[in-house]
């Protein structure tokens, strides 16, 4: 049954008519035209759909839209500010961490979520945190280097 819900996405308030059990990803992409989050597996397995909810990583494809009422949703589109890109985005560009790029939304959002809690996580922490973000192209090395740079490990040697 359709209800009118109020969502806060990228610091803006939106009123949308939607069934409360609709997943957040569909609302973001279809109703709000925010295509940063990608549809991958639809089962919460790959991480391509990751957004931030109150600064925490969230897999938007398994999250009913009703569950984020009253919470702050941030998509990839909301990371940048008028002053420039988010440092995580800058790091991914600088490290050229994309092949096809489909997973990058999830990678960037997950790193952002990790840095929100710990600005300088260890490399092990970064690897563990990204363990369940899948990449089909095999760009893992570049992705990890970008994440290390964003976490301030730039001056260190190697990545393995």
């Amino acid at each position: 049954m359709t209800r009118t819900l109020t969502l806060t996405v990228n610091r803006q308030s939106h009123r949308i008519a939607v069934a409360p059990e609709t997943n957040l990803l569909h609302v973001l992409r279809n109703d709000l035209a925010l295509n940063g989050p990608k549809y991958g597996c639809g089962l919460g397995e790959c991480g391509a759909c990751t957004v931030l909810v109150d600064g925490l990583a969230a897999r938007a494809c398994v999250l009913p839209v009703a569950a984020v009422i009253g919470h702050e949703v941030t998509t990839l589109e909301g990371l940048a500010t008028p002053d420039g890109l988010d440092p995580v985005q800058t790091a991914f560009i600088e490290k050229q961490a994309a092949q096809c790029g489909y997973c990058l939304n999830g990678m960037i959002m997950s790193v952002r979520a990790l840095l929100n809690r710990d600005p300088h996580p260890s490399k092990e922490s970064i690897r563990a945190a990204l363990e369940h973000n899948l990449c089909r192209c095999g760009t893992h090395v570049e992705i990890l280097e970008a994440a290390y740079r964003a976490a301030g490990h730039d001056d260190e040697e190697g990545c393995a």
């Binding site: 409360p20 059990e21 997943n23 639809g42 089962l43 919460g44 397995e45 991480g47 909810v53 109150d54 600064g55 925490l56 990583a57 969230a58 897999r59 494809c61 398994v62 999250l63 009913p64 009703a66 569950a67 919470h71 997950s110 979520a113 990790l114 929100n116 809690r117 922490s125 563990a128 945190a129 990204l130 363990e131 369940h132």
Partner: protein, 1007 residues
């Protein structure tokens, strides 16, 4: 023992704990039938007691028999109740003379507009006769409580909330043969004295039991004593008639006493045979000179009956004055309304006494009396009717001098809730002219105390477990009483003012004791004033007190064509008929089993505005607890329109349409039909309903909740939808067989609170056993589909392919539940030590979300008691949980196929990788009860269908993997989960078969 008796008594009060190890608990067993017919006591005769039937029970059980008085005494109330339930007694049935000898009932019918023969003349506006009654017991008591008796060799101590100590002492003397000095009554309640209640009967029961076992005995006084109230019926019946002239003036006034027995002795006295079972007013006549009851009014031709010789003293108040005053003041109100006059004006017309006239004028002016009262137009809503009444009394002083006596005028405003039957006294203006030397402050205080004392037994609700709201067990009654108290405080000033404004001097100068103005405070108009206000509010005349919620509700519902009250009486009668039938094995038993039930005539759908918003809201809560919508909504269908399929071992059932559609739903069901279905499982058309519909639990719902539920359902939108026909195999498709099923397994008796438990427990038990019908899912069923009780109660069961885990001590939860955890789980859908609600439990939690917190706490408290669970989680339990989680952190060797599936599909949410995540499963699988169960069903269900409940914050959303995993992949994954997260448990067998079966069943129900 005798020597210690006087010492022991000092430490005892009404709490049985004060008895120490000495004390025993007694339960009395009344005969299947007993009643007082016009002063003659008749009852079933006891013919045999099978002591063997309780011989196997543990602990010391003593059976006490004296004549037809039977009681069981044991070391705990529960043991005594169990023994009383099991004790086999043989009763000679009472020849039933169903010719309406029970005056109480006859009068009740009369009160709901059944006309007297004399009514024919009354239509001419000239002549009117009415009968008024006074009950033998005003009500069973003010609140449940213990009554304790300690019968030593030559002395008896009683702790009982009696309001009529003199009468009680007299009855105890007759019962025990002890002298008055040897009987001591403790804990005497300061009641209004307007009538006896069953505290006296319980005291006598306890005394007999105590004497028999030679120890102090505690008896629990509660609503079960209402049977005594009913059996003893009327103590007094008064007929009043008048003739009035064309100007409305009363020419002739007559009153006649048709039944005299203002003080009916205690039931134990009748049953034990100590009092001969014949007209009691014959044998103990005192020969006291009788004088006609005083009437302050002057009629041209007046004949007042001389009261018959009542037995015993009248020390306990002016019982007869009260009764005659009630009859007279009610009757004048009726006459005024019949003849179209202001009841106040009619009284003034026939009052010759200037002090009385001045008092009435002063009180009615202060109360803003006008005629017609228009009270009902001022603030009535759909359910609540307002009314205003007036009554007046004058009593001669103690020397019989009329001029010196007390005059008292009352105006009462009340609210009547038609649905619940609650009567609330909203404002009372009392004026009293008590003579010159009265301490007005003291009088004011006395009046306040005693006015509330009058109002409480007349109006009070039964203290109850079915109160809704944040106070849960809290008593709405007390709050409404407090409101009344506020209203009284404001008006009590007027009382003082009135008595000062009419200064009178006393001719003989006899001092009036300022310290005890009780004698001078005349409260007798208190009963009639409420009856008159009730009529003003509802148009129904109550000709016998008390006006308790249940009586008012029954009468008003009788008015509306619904038969709730009658149904309640019928239920009680049926139960006793059954017991009698079992004892004597007659055709009565066969008649009881006869499957055919008559249809209840269809009615038009009740108007949308018949019930108030408050009642409908209460009904909504009732519906939420009862989970109506879960079963009565098809997958993806419209709420409550029915059609959901239930696979039972006997075939497929479809739930019915319970929207108020007249053709396909319940729109043409009267309340009586609805209530019969809810309590007895019989459809409006007389067909039996299958017990998949948990009427076995719903039967426990209180009347008020049942009404509210009806109101709510009838206020919903009507949906035309015909559910599919049931597909049952023979013989289960023969509905008539359910009559036998019901006789075997269905107990339609309403919920009985357990006095040895707290209010919280009883509220929880009411919700869980009744509306919440926890056991419908959580108790295993026998081969015929009946819930199993005893040790199997809440022992877990399989429902709709999901396992409803045990809620008793058989719980297999890896971390034991606590009351606090249960509360968190029921309130938020998640417990940090146990996981989330899923499957059919998810909508249950969603429904509970609508309830006040206190109700959910009560359910948690009750379930915790079934589990023997502690109040909260101790630190060592949390430590244990951490260890379980740590133990499951690594994957066991040799299950790599399962590990791959888990890492790919599950780990992103079910393994903590250190990524701060909103969609992370908060509770580790290592704490999930489902993985520790004896069967894999819930794990398989969760994997295939996922976990969903969008409207409960704590219930995470998990996608179903039915479309992405094969049966063998699910099997591999389930094996892996069991091995990794419940390593101490043996591997499940037959997983593959369960997976394919559940997949098949889910496809069937989910289309």
């Amino acid at each position: 023992m005798n020597a210690s008796a006087s010492h022991r008594s000092t430490g005892i009060d009404r709490r049985p704990e004060s008895l120490g190890g000495e004390g025993r608990f007694g339960v009395v067993i009344r005969p299947p039938a007993y009643r007082l017919d016009d002063g003659t006591f008749v009852c079933s005769r006891l013919q045999g007691v099978d002591h063997k039937s309780v011989a196997t029970l543990p602990g010391r059980i003593e059976v006490v028999v004296e004549g037809n008085f039977v009681g069981v005494v044991a070391t705990s109330l529960q043991a005594a109740r169990e023994a009383a339930r099991r004790l086999r007694l043989e009763w000679q049935p009472l020849e039933v003379a169903e010719n309406g000898t029970q005056q109480g009932r006859a009068l009740r019918v009369e009160s709901s507009h059944q006309e007297n023969p004399a009514e024919a003349d009354a239509t001419l506006g000239r002549y009117l006769t009415r009968h008024y009654g006074w009950p033998s017991r005003m009500r069973w008591g003010d609140e449940p409580g213990w009554v304790v008796a300690d019968h030593g060799r030559d002395r008896l101590d009683i702790w009982a909330p009696t309001t009529t100590p003199v009468l009680l002492e007299r009855d105890l003397m007759a019962l025990t043969g002890l002298a008055g000095e040897a009987i001591e009554l403790h804990d005497v309640a300061s009641g209004s004295g307007i009538g006896r209640h069953c505290g006296d009967d319980a005291a006598a029961d306890a005394a007999l039991l105590s004497r028999a076992v030679g120890r102090p005995v505690a008896v629990w006084l509660d609503a079960s004593y209402a049977r005594d109230v009913e059996a003893l019926g009327q103590a007094q019946r008064i007929a009043v008639s008048v003739e009035w002239n064309a100007q409305g003036g009363i020419e002739r006034y007559r009153n006649r006493q048709e039944l005299v027995g203002s003080d009916t002795p205690v039931v134990a006295l009748w049953l034990s045979g100590m009092l001969e079972t014949r007209r009691h007013d014959d044998d103990v006549a005192t020969g006291e000179p009788a004088s006609p009851p005083f009437s302050p009014y002057v009629f041209r031709d007046q004949r007042l009956a001389v009261p018959g010789e009542a037995r015993g003293s009248h020390d306990d108040g002016r019982a007869l004055e009260w009764q005659h005053g009630f009859a007279r003041e009610s009757f004048l109100d009726e006459v005024a309304r019949e003849s179209g006059q202001d009841p106040v004006a009619l009284r003034l017309r026939h009052l010759d006494d200037p002090r009385g006239v001045e008092l009435i004028e002063s009180v009615t002016r202060r109360a803003g009396w006008s005629w017609p009262t228009k009270a009902s137009e001022e603030g009535s809503t759909a359910d609540v009717r307002r009314g205003r009444g007036f009554a007046y009394a004058q009593l001669p002083d103690r020397h019989g001098r009329v001029e010196e006596g007390v005059r008292s005028a009352w105006v009462a405003d009340i609210d009547v809730n038609r649905v619940t039957g609650d009567v609330r006294l909203t404002r009372l203006v009392v004026g009293q002219d008590s003579g010159p030397l009265v301490d007005t402050a003291q009088l004011q205080k006395t009046l306040q105390q005693r006015v509330l004392g009058v109002a409480r037994p007349l109006l009070a609700r039964e203290p109850s477990f079915d109160e809704w709201g944040e106070n849960g067990g809290g008593n709405r009654d007390s709050s409404s009483m407090q409101e009344s108290r506020r209203g009284l405080v404001a008006e009590a000033r007027n009382v003082a003012g009135t008595s000062c404004s009419t200064p009178m001097t006393r001719s003989d100068g006899e001092p009036v004791s300022a310290l005890s103005p009780l004698d001078e405070a005349d409260l007798s108009p208190g009963v009639a004033v409420i009856a008159n206000a009730l009529f003003d509010a509802t148009g129904v005349r109550f000709r016998q007190p008390p006006f308790t919620a249940s009586r008012v509700r029954q009468t008003l519902q009788g008015e509306c064509g619904a038969r709730g009250g009658e149904a309640a009486t019928g239920r009680r009668a049926t139960r006793w008929r059954w017991l009698t039938g079992a004892a004597v094995v007659t055709a009565g038993a066969a008649a009881m089993l006869w499957p055919w039930k008559s249809p209840i005539a269809p009615v038009a759908r009740p108007a949308a505005n018949l019930y108030s918003v408050e009642t409908i809201e209460r009904g909504r809560l009732v519906a939420e607890v009862g989970d109506c919508v879960i079963c009565h909504t098809a997958e993806g269908g419209i709420d409550n329109a029915g059609g959901r399929a239930f696979d039972t071992p006997f075939g497929t059932l479809y739930s019915t349409n319970i929207t108020p559609d007249e053709a396909t739903g319940i729109g043409n069901w009267s309340y009586a039909a609805f209530e019969r279905a809810m309590r007895h499982g019989i459809s409006r058309d007389g067909r039996h309903l299958y017990p998949a519909f948990p009427y076995t639990a719903f039967a426990k719902t209180s009347d008020a909740d049942m009404q509210a539920l009806y109101a709510y359902l009838m206020a919903q939108p009507a949906v035309s939808a015909e559910p599919p026909a049931n597909e049952l195999s023979f013989p289960f498709n023969v509905r008539a067989l359910l009559a036998g099923w019901n006789a075997l397994y269905h107990d339609a008796s309403p919920f009985q609170p357990d006095p040895s438990q707290s209010d919280l427990y009883n509220r929880g038990a009411y919700l869980a056993e009744g509306l919440g019908h926890c056991s419908a899912c959580h108790s295993p069923r026998n081969a015929l589909g009946a819930e199993q009780g005893g040790e199997r109660y809440l022992a877990g069961a399989l429902v709709e392919g999901w396992e409803a885990p045990p809620l008793n001590t058989l719980s297999r939860s890896p971390i034991p539940w606590s009351e606090e955890s249960l509360y968190q789980y029921l309130r938020g859908g998640e417990s940090e030590l146990h996981g989330v609600a899923s499957g059919p439990m998810a909508p249950v939690v969603a429904g509970l979300g609508e309830l006040p917190e206190s109700d959910v706490r009560a359910i948690a408290h009750y379930v915790a008691a079934q589990m023997n669970a502690p109040a909260s989680d101790a630190d060592d339990v949390r430590l244990e949980a951490q260890q379980l989680v740590a133990r499951a952190a690594t994957s066991p060797a040799g299950l790599e196929a399962g590990e791959r599936l888990f890492d790919g599909a599950c780990a992103s949410c079910h393994v903590d990788t250190g990524l701060p995540s909103f969609t992370q499963a908060k509770v580790s699988l290592a704490l999930n009860t489902n993985l520790y169960s004896e069967r894999p069903d819930n794990v398989i269900q969760s994997i295939l269908g996922g976990v969903h409940a969008t409207n409960v914050p704590g219930i995470g959303e998990m996608p179903g993997f039915a479309d992405s995993f094969s049966d063998s992949q699910v099997t591999t994954l389930v094996e892996y989960l069991r091995a990794r997260f419940a390593p101490g448990e043996p591997a499940w067998s037959g997983i593959t078969e369960r997976v394919s079966q559940i997949r098949k069943d889910d496809n069937k129900t989910h289309g």
